[in-house]
């Protein structure tokens, strides 16, 4: 067995995994991280009588468990966590995510977008930390909280905003909407609105990569897939089913759990018998990693390892990113169950502020450079709104398009005409 994590989890013993503590302070403010990266930390066992999930949780930030990670990390002797260029790229992406979502809230209240709009504020370190490490050919599968994943993957802000406005120029021509971002060009394989639904789809994308490499002999097909989903989703069967198959078949996928501690108004601790999600990796024979999802540098380190592993054909990884959403579940959620003190605590750990501080303190960037990025992004978002607003609504004839890939649409009727031209059959009551 390659994974230490699998070994230490013994059925009958309640355990605490501790590590060389990278205590409450973040990587970003803790230079000692450089010499003692938590990924390579050792674990100790401690037996206790009976501990509540909350107690277990409060033990310390839990960390990587795989030998794979450990060995890699020990060999690595880089001192810089990222180059200036990388730092600015990640910063820009996070600013874009934040500014875009703030604009969405405004536009929603102005009636420019509708339905359920789920914003990503607070979780930017996860999207930017992972997706910015991908190649264009790599795939991303998301949920209903998908705008920022699409942006990080390179879908232009104009195309996403326009989709949200329900316009023809949107990335799905106004047919998908907020919860369903797709971009074949960018390998954004969808925002899926149903809990768990995206996980098998992502696993299927990873299956296809492996198939292309091994069956179709496309030697250069080393594409990986990232599946993003929430803590609440980890109680859904599809999660477990896919952990099993991904490990069984060594698929190039990373299961990225964005544990923001809440599923609408359901606290993670109230819904999950063992709230340490990362532990489910080793249980299925893959590494499980717990990382501070408010710290983009930590996320990036973990992501690098996991993506590299997947690319090398070494199989899947489960990464639990502990993060927090700064807004309600959706723009229609009154958000009355989360404790204001909890919100304040996480607000103080804003991942963007933290990165900014790191970039400046480590002299990777100065205030002016970061300001320039913020200004540029403001313009990008403004431009996206203008573009979306001025774009035309879909034409009426679009109603019946794209239901099938078959260009004949619904097939050919007995009189030789396309069935899609038979108004009784397809239009319902629409007067197209």
């Amino acid at each position: 067995m390659a994974f230490a994590g699998a070994k230490i989890i013994q059925p009958s013993l309640p355990l605490i995994h501790t590590t060389t503590r990278s205590p409450d302070n973040t990587l970003l403010s803790d230079p000692s991280f450089l010499s003692s990266p938590f990924l390579g930390s050792t674990r100790t066992l401690r037996l206790t009588q009976s501990i509540s999930p909350a107690q277990r949780r409060s033990a310390s930030p839990v960390v990587a468990v795989s030998d794979v990670f450990k060995e890699k990390k020990l060999k690595s002797n880089t001192n810089l966590l990222l180059t200036k260029e990388e730092g600015l790229q990640v910063y820009e992406d996070m600013i874009l995510g934040r500014a875009f979502e703030d604009m969405c809230a405004q536009m929603y209240y102005r009636g420019k977008m509708f339905g359920f709009v789920h914003l990503y504020n607070g979780q930017e370190a996860v999207s930017s930390g992972f997706i910015k490490l991908l190649k264009k050919e790599d795939s991303v599968v998301s949920t209903y909280r998908d705008h920022v994943h699409a942006l990080s993957k390179g879908v232009p802000a104009r195309a996403v905003m326009s989709e949200l406005f329900g316009k023809k120029t949107g990335c799905c021509r106004g047919q998908g909407g907020s919860m369903h971002m797709f971009s074949a060009e960018h390998n954004v394989l969808g925002g899926f609105a149903f809990i768990g639904e995206g996980i098998p789809v992502a696993t299927g994308a990873a299956f296809a990569s492996k198939y292309r490499r091994e069956v179709l002999k496309e030697a250069d097909c080393d594409h990986v897939t990232l599946a993003f989903f929430g803590d609440g989703t980890c109680n859904n069967g599809q999660f477990f089913e896919c952990l099993n198959m991904a490990a069984l078949w060594k698929l190039p996928i990373i299961f990225v759990v964005e544990n923001n501690l809440w599923a609408i108004g359901m606290s993670h601790l109230r819904s999950t018998s063992d709230p340490e999600i990362w532990k489910k990796g080793p249980a299925f024979g893959m590494p499980g990693v717990h990382v501070d999802g408010m710290d983009v540098l930590k996320v990036r380190e973990v992501a690098k390892e996991a993506i590299g592993r997947a690319r090398r054909g070494e199989g899947p990884t489960l990464v639990e990113c502990e993060t927090y959403r700064f807004r309600g579940h959706s723009l229609a959620d009154p958000d009355e169950l989360r404790d204001p003190a909890e919100k304040a605590r996480y607000a103080a750990r804003d991942p963007i502020t933290a990165l900014k501080k790191y970039l400046i303190e480590s002299k990777l960037a100065n205030e002016a450079e970061l300001k320039a990025i913020e200004k540029k992004i403001d313009e990008v978002v403004e431009d996206a709104v203008e573009f979306a607003d001025e774009s035309p609504a879909p034409s009426r004839s679009q109603l019946l398009e794209n239901v099938f890939a078959d260009p004949r649409g619904f097939g050919i009727g007995p009189d030789g005409s396309y069935r899609c031209e038979d108004p009784k059959f397809t239009q319902g009551t629409a007067q197209v």
Binding site: R57, S58, G115, L269, P394
Partner: protein, 376 residues
């Protein structure tokens, strides 16, 4: 990092926050016309459902509610508001997001005589539990030779909502309507909601109870009789919402309001429409539908679901089978467009029946009556 959470856990249960409408910031629908003679009080559909649940839980401790956010959040659409406080977390059970799991658990509990009410946050999500609903619930009485019945209610909002795109917006009436062993109820008004939900909970068989999110906030007059805790409505009986002689319009759920509105418009043009509120899709009240068609000789069916194999198709079939010779004109079937629900507002509107569509179809049936009269 988790200290706050701990505190939060400790504080749980102390607060019982009161919520207004949420998750409901949707475009308002045209309010429907209603005709009730012995109306005494106005009540929203939300309150009707809430009071029905409350009364049935009070009357029978075998009844419990389970689903996502039914407890502390008071229901995603606030249907279970106040019930957690009243009945506690053993009877108002917040579940993880695992439809297959908790639906199956509900079914298993029903095998043992409990009367679970399983709430789906929306019926779309019940797709992840369709095996449990159809295989485990609907077929068990039959497979066990009548030895194990399944007194369970599956309820939640069904049908198109506003602006939520393809996955969150569709009608499951015809899906469940085709399954032997299920009863499928589709309330429109507050009286329907109260009477049918109470009947569903008391019923010995699995009932799929399809509510409509757009109706939750609508107020309807309710009679004193309907407010009584003993009130219930018969399963399988349609209601003639409005009598007429020129054309029969069948509808269910939100579309009943549209049909009534259309009937008003038609009246001004001299067409007297009879509007049937189906109330139950399975069993389908074939008798009431056929009697009406035999009187009016014309039929328009209205539903928001997809056209093929829809509820309208079944109604057409029953009318063709039983009252073919009474039809003066071809049946008009109004349904949603045969496409996944579009997000863009203009396309979405095109995809679902509007009041004008009902009016137009009804007029067509009436105008075409002369050439076809030979059939009578």
């Amino acid at each position: 990092m988790w200290g706050i959470i701990k505190q939060k856990l400790g504080a749980r249960g102390l607060s019982a926050p009161v919520f207004g409408d949420c998750m409901h910031r949707l475009r308002p629908m045209a309010s429907a016309i209603r005709r009730y003679s012995s109306a005494t009080k106005q009540m929203t559909v939300r309150d009707a459902l809430n009071s029905a649940l409350d009364e049935e839980m009070a009357a029978d401790s075998d009844v419990f509610l389970m689903g996502e956010e039914v407890g502390e959040y008071q229901g995603a659409y606030k249907i279970s508001k106040g019930l957690l406080d009243k009945y506690g977390s053993e009877r108002v059970v917040d579940t993880p997001i695992t439809e297959a799991g908790f639906t199956g658990i509900g079914v298993g509990a029903a095998y043992h005589g409990l009367k679970p009410v399983v709430e789906f946050m929306t019926f779309n999500f019940a797709m992840q539990a369709i095996d449990q609903i159809i295989n485990s619930a609907a077929k068990t009485n039959y497979m066990s030779a009548g030895k194990i019945n399944v007194p369970i209610v599956f309820r939640g909002p069904n049908g198109p909502a506003a602006g939520v795109g393809a996955q969150h917006s569709q009608c499951y009436g015809a899906w469940y309507g085709s399954v032997p062993g299920l009863k499928v109820l589709v309330p429109y008004s507050s009286e329907d909601a109260r009477g049918l939900l109470k009947a569903a909970i008391r019923d010995p068989d699995p009932v799929v109870f399809l509510e409509n999110e757009m109706l939750y906030g609508e107020s309807f007059p309710v009679s004193t009789e309907a407010l009584d805790s003993s009130f219930s409505l018969p399963i399988g009986k349609a209601k003639i919402e409005r009598e007429g002689k020129d054309v029969t319009i069948t509808a269910f759920s939100k579309m009943v309001g549209y049909a009534l509105k259309a009937a008003e418009i038609l009246e001004k043009e001299g067409i007297n429409a009879e509007v049937i509120n189906l109330r139950s899709i399975r069993p389908l009240d074939r008798a009431t539908i056929n009697a009406s068609v035999r009187k009016t000789n014309r039929l328009v069916t209205v539903e928001e679901g997809f056209p093929q194999h829809g509820v309208g198709a079944e109604i057409c079939a029953t009318v063709v089978e039983d009252s073919f010779n009474y039809l003066d004109t071809p049946v008009e079937r109004i349904a949603g467009a045969d496409v996944p629900t579009p997000y863009a507002a203009n396309l979405e509107r095109l995809a679902f029946p509007q009041i004008e569509d009902v009016v137009r179809a009804a007029k067509r049936t009436c105008c075409r009556s002369v050439p076809m009269a030979a059939n009578v």
